[in-house]
């Protein structure tokens, strides 16, 4: 890598501690990002963290890189401007389920559609934390919150599903209590060329504690999640004794050794094939029928917006006789007036 620089975790630490609540999932995410960045080899001056508004969006203030704390929902638009202005920068967007799924939904889908090389860290705690406990677009249906005393009415968004509908090319899911998993996936997101969306299942200890308990508790974790890796079989369970197969048009959970199922029957994860419809099924898998899919679910190559844009600039520069603003002024229909005052 051209601007490879050796950095350490320390380079990305701030003097002051992050001001999230004690026990907030945000702290672990921050630590994982600070550990992942040195492994990307990106120069620290070339990294920019952008955010919207919400608990997650305080992120840029807690990491020692260039940072821009924006407006509610608009982080994606700000990040777009930064990346288009200088494609050499490594641009990260820290956002949440309220920020990106509600008020900033439009910018979110268009960022994915355009495929700028920006890494999105979507902190999904399924609640509004900063405004103190109202439901968000990812809050499970029927939840009682401050603004849904009788239970929420609408179906929640699945960020991954939304991303694929928006032509997204990279989607991964991690959980905030697995540092190693986060680190690995953040590095994968950073090295993916194009918009990378990482959904972080994050715990809000104050307003939605244990919302992800079914996948974070030690006893349930192995049975309730499946960590996917490209080229590897879709196995899960404490002893990898369970797996996924395709039956009719659906995914099915099977036990190795039961009903004649062997390891060979288990599906192999292909994250890079953009036509792989299983990405969609994996994203949608829900408890109790299925384990929750974790890891890099989709990672497909596609041209980025900024590469194409700057490519067009180069072609225009090469083809045009107009090289600067003076040339532009004198192009097309111009005429010369001699001094004929009063003729």
């Amino acid at each position: 890598m051209e601007n490879y620089e050796k950095t350490t975790v320390k380079d990305f630490k701030m003097d002051q501690a992050a001001r999230w609540c004690p026990g907030c999932g945000g702290h672990a995410v921050l630590a994982a990002v600070q550990k992942a960045l040195p492994e990307t080899g990106i120069k620290k001056e070339n990294i920019v963290f952008v955010s919207g508004i919400g608990c997650s969006s305080r992120f840029p203030y807690y990491i020692n890189t260039y940072g821009f704390h924006g407006l509610h929902g608009r982080g994606a638009a700000i990040a777009t401007g930064i990346k288009l202005a200088n494609p050499g920068l490594s641009v990260w967007l820290a956002t949440g389920d309220g920020d990106s799924m509600a008020i900033g939904g439009n910018h979110f889908i268009h960022l994915l559609r355009r495929n700028l090389d920006i890494n999105i860290l979507l902190f999904n705690n399924k609640i509004y934390g900063l405004t103190k406990g109202q439901f968000s677009p990812t809050t499970p249906k029927g939840s009682i919150t401050k603004t849904s005393p009788n239970g929420t009415i609408a179906s929640p968004f699945l960020p991954g599903e939304l991303a694929m509908g928006a032509q997204g090319n990279f989607f991964a899911r991690v959980v905030d209590n697995d540092l190693e998993m986060m680190q690995k996936v953040f590095i994968a997101a950073a090295s993916h060329k194009g918009t990378s969306l990482v959904e972080i299942l994050q715990n809000c200890v104050i307003f939605n504690d244990a919302v992800h308990a079914e996948i974070t508790s030690k006893e349930l974790r192995d049975d309730n999640t499946i960590f996917l890796e490209h080229g590897k079989p879709m196995l899960f369970g404490r002893n990898k004794e369970k797996g996924l197969i395709r039956e009719d048009s659906r995914m099915k959970v099977v036990q190795i050794g039961q009903n004649g199922i062997t390891r060979k029957d288990i599906l192999i994860h292909n994250a890079i094939d953009r036509e792989d419809t299983r990405h969609y099924m994996l994203v949608r898998m829900m408890l109790p029928e299925y384990p929750i899919a974790m890891g890099v679910i989709r990672s497909c190559e596609a041209s980025t917006y900024e590469d194409t844009y700057y490519g067009q600039i180069q072609v225009s520069r090469d083809k045009s006789t107009i090289k600067n603003v003076d040339d532009l002024f004198m192009s097309g229909n111009i005429f010369k007036l001699e001094n004929h005052n009063g003729d």
Binding site: Y66, G81, N86
Partner: protein, 617 residues
């Protein structure tokens, strides 16, 4: 046989083209303006078209118009009334009769003057036969019929064939104004360079129109308007939207900041975006965003990354951008916001002009959120003020709102082409890499602008954003006293801009009976009205404002020298109320118009006469 007709020398002539919005009226108008510019006439234009792309054909509401005022003398307004009217159908005639001078030449497309068209235009009687036009020189030209005849072997379908009609009109005008047909032919070659088949057809029709006018004995006199009295140099015909785009390009090149435009299409500002996407050849980043908010926010992001960030819009879009502009204010980044005003509120009159966003530009944000507010006042000086907006945004690290309007956007005039080397310097408050003294909210003691450190620069990592920051260090601060200090600094920073802008000018005597005040796009008509009254010997002067916030420092001095002050605006008195709050020691009269149309010189003069106690003309 060439017949000889009288040639009348004129200082100026007003021509109005009118027809259905699909008739190519705007193209004919643009072509006539371009050829006028080419032969050196001074000019001002006023396109006026309905909001619908193809409004109901043949109806009065569907009439699209294009007025051109050309002259040998200085031309500042498109003129109140036309000397020549081209009416492509009865509706066009009906809609424009009140804008035609007595005795004017009226060219009608007689092919469309039938009972069907009369009915659509809601004429009870045949207007050509009822004697109502007896005092005019009416030319009944079978434009549609003859055009179809000319192109019948060209293999065009009827629709395309009829589209070439406007060249028949152009041909008549070329003859009427004693112009060289070659100029028109070259215009067509350029216009249709990607459709060679149309070049041929259009040129044939243009010639046919010219020959028709020469042969038919309906036209009593032709006009000659000599080249304008302008300084020597290169010129071009320039409209307000292109001028803004070019002014921004010039400022970007001068400051060596890449130009970044983040915009969303909106009438009547879209042409700025359309113009700038064409300038990739000089490195412009012009981004069509998913909405107005993304336009301004991406521009702020680009500014953070070191570009000249710009967003362009009209009133409804300015409303949507308010929060974003506030972010620009608190992060103290350069940002140019261009608002090409139109009739509001809401969708209002999208294709008509108005000056009703002034208070929104000044005060339309939450919190104490000052920015610089400028207004351009002629199509060509949209260039100067776009450049000025960018200069002030960069040098003072602040959002600048530039107010243009629909009238300036589409109107055009002669533009004296400048050289880049003649444009003023732009000092960029950059920081050197690894500057140990850099703090995000350290300021230039003179301008109070903070310094512009850009991602990618070594040793200058910092975080900014929408939360209030501590003075100097830029750390998040909820301290009440700090907030007050920062609020005062942000205001003072804008106030200090007064030392970096020119004095307010007065046209006419620096003292007298009446000072006419205008701002922005009303300049042309106010100037013409005031000039005419000055020539009639009255004590009247004009102060047209381009700098709204801050106001130039000499304004109170100017106001104090006049017995009466009248503020003329295309709104209910927004600048007047702003002046009343800033300079309450003066008494302000008002003249306001909210019809989606520019002022008329005649109505302005009537008002001024009334104030001066003179009898009405």
């Amino acid at each position: 046989m060439k017949k000889r007709v009288k040639v009348i020398e004129r200082d100026d002539v007003v021509v109005k083209f009118a027809g259905d919005s699909g008739d190519g009226i705007q193209l004919t108008g643009a072509q006539f303006s371009d050829t006028s510019a080419f032969i050196g006439n001074d000019l001002a234009t006023f396109p006026d078209y309905p909001a619908e792309i193809r409004a109901p054909q043949g109806t009065v509401e569907g009439v699209s118009g294009f007025q051109v005022h050309i002259g040998h003398k200085e031309i500042q307004s498109p003129g109140d009334q036309a000397d020549v009217l081209v009416a492509m159908n009865p509706a066009a005639l009906k809609a424009n009769m009140k804008w035609v001078k007595p005795g004017a030449t009226i060219i009608v497309d007689i092919s469309n003057f039938d009972s069907r068209h009369y009915k659509r235009a809601e004429y009870v009687e045949d207007p050509l036969g009822d004697g109502s036009l007896d005092d005019y020189n009416v030319v009944r030209a079978p434009i549609t019929e003859m055009t179809r005849d000319v192109v019948k072997h060209k293999g065009l379908d009827l629709k395309t064939a009829d589209k070439t009609r406007n060249q028949f009109v152009a041909g008549i005008l070329f003859w009427l104004f004693n112009r060289d047909l070659k100029i028109g032919e070259n215009f067509l070659r350029d216009r249709f360079r990607n459709k060679p088949k149309l070049i041929d057809a259009n040129i044939d029709v243009l010639r046919a129109g010219y020959n028709y006018a020469e042969t038919v004995e309906a036209i009593e006199a032709t006009y000659r308007v000599k080249p304008a009295e302008k300084g020597a140099g290169y010129y071009r015909n320039m409209n307000g939207n292109t001028a803004i785009a070019w002014g921004l390009l010039a400022a970007a090149e001068k400051s060596r900041c890449k130009l970044y435009l983040g915009s969303y299409p909106i009438t009547p500002a879209s042409e700025i975006l359309q113009e700038l996407v064409k300038t990739k050849n000089i490195g412009t980043i012009a981004f069509q965003a998913e909405d107005e908010i993304a336009g301004v926010c991406s521009a702020i992001g680009a500014s953070f990354a070191g570009c000249l960030g710009v967003t362009t819009t009209s009133g409804p879009g300015l409303s949507l951008k308010s929060e974003g502009i506030g972010l620009g204010v608190i992060t103290e980044l350069p940002l140019v916001v261009v608002d090409v005003q139109r009739g509001g509120p809401s969708t209002g009159l999208p294709t008509k002009t108005e000056q009703s966003d002034l208070l929104q530009a000044l005060y339309g944000r939450h919190g104490e959120s000052p920015c610089i507010v400028l207004a351009s006042s002629t199509p060509a000086n949209c260039f100067d003020f776009a450049y000025e907006a960018a200069r002030l945004a960069i040098e003072h690290m602040t959002p600048v709102i530039l107010l243009s309007d629909g009238y300036l956007a589409n109107g055009s005039e002669l533009w004296h082409i400048p050289k880049m080397s003649d444009l003023p310097e732009i000092k960029v408050p950059r920081v050197l890499d690894n500057d140990p003294s850099y703090k995000p909210y350290n300021r230039d003691p003179e301008t109070l602008a903070r310094y512009w450190a850009v991602p990618g620069q070594e040793g200058l990592r910092h975080q900014i954003g929408g939360l209030e920051k501590a003075d100097v260090t830029g750390e998040i601060s909820y301290d009440p006293f700090n907030h007050e200090i920062m609020t005062l600094i942000r205001r003072e920073k804008i106030d200090k801009v007064v030392y970096y802008i020119p004095k307010q000018q007065v046209i006419g005597n620096p003292e007298g009976d009446l000072l006419v005040i205008g701002w922005g796009g009303t300049f042309g008509t106010l100037y013409t009205a005031v000039k005419e009254m000055q020539e009639e010997g009255h004590s009247i002067s004009l102060a047209q404002f381009n700098y709204i916030d801050p106001l130039p420092y000499n304004v109170p001095d100017i106001f104090g020298r006049f017995k009466n002050i009248v503020v003329c605006e295309l709104n209910l008195g927004q600048f007047a109320s702003c002046l009343r709050s800033k300079l309450p020691q003066f008494h302000y009269l008002q003249f306001n118009k909210i019809q989606g149309l520019p002022f008329l010189i005649s109505e302005l003069k009537n008002k001024f006469r009334e104030i001066l106690g003179l009898p009405q003309n």
